[in-house]
Amino acid sequence: MTTSAKNQYQAGDPRQIVRWARRYAQSRTISFLVQWVFIVVMVMGIGLAASLTQAAHQEGKTATFALSVIFMFLAALALVWFSVSRWSGELVFSITNWLYGREGYVSYSGNHPDKSLPLWLTGLGGGLLAYHLLGALLISFNYMHIKYMQPWSAAYMTPYLILMVVYQRLGFWAWLWPVLYGLHAIALMLGLPIRFGWELELFNIIAPIFTYGLIAILIGHAYSRYALWKLKSLTQTTIPEYDEAAPDGDQEEERAETPTNG
């Protein structure tokens, strides 16, 4: 394929436009920022509910225990609804278009132009939720220490997000989140001094999600600025306009189609 972005072309070859158009489309991270904010809020909601459930269970407060379990499931349902509903998709699309207004819309999804995820990957998304709920319940009933919450989460989240990145053909920035999240889990298990104290135990899962997600998204956004600059520059320099003194393509074409007299 001559226009493949994988081909190496010399500097000044217009086919480099293909690669940079793709890199730009892959690095538009504002939509991820919007989704990320929602995910962080939901994770905090589930985490808070898990803490309440644990406290209520230990203190034998049945009503609070029941309410916090209901809240935990409602937060989980809201997360599922946000992930699959058309309304949330349109909301993210509108916010993204508003923020990228002057740049316009462009998309790249590799070999999956319909943009819908296959059933098995959607299923893994549901599994992610069930897995975290299971973790929250194990902690609530003291079957697992809360210090293992982040490594427990990373054991599923890291491979799941890597699959999503590969499937959706996202840019290099998207690898940062799952890789840093996985490395953080390893660091916690090795006992490196990066752990929040027991009174801020929830931050051991919230801070990595928040921080690494933000780092990845901001790096992606910064890279998209560079990619757009590079794309504009390549588009306008590697394929120059015709010299004004020379006939342009259309005029030449029209002349060729016009019969001459004599």
Binding site: G104, K232, Q236, G249
Partner: protein, 98 residues
Amino acid sequence: MDDLDRTIHEPARLRILTLLSGVDEADFSFLLNTVGLTKGNLSSHMDKLEKAGYVTIVKTFNGRIPHTDFRLTPEGRSALEKYWEELDAIRAMHDARE
């Protein structure tokens, strides 16, 4: 040079097609912003590319605001690939002569 597809050989249309070959779809604002044409010129080139069967135009509305997306067709993709192959061959011949 006679073998080159004249629809593609025009610089603005070559820019548009090369850009579209790297992505799934792009809208009017993106092409306007990147290719550096006036709205009228861009519309005119897109009409020519659509008539040639090289792009598809999808017009929708976001509320009351019209939105136009463009996609490269399989015919457009193969015509562009053929164009680059022919241009490479011409360049190679030119280099050999020198």
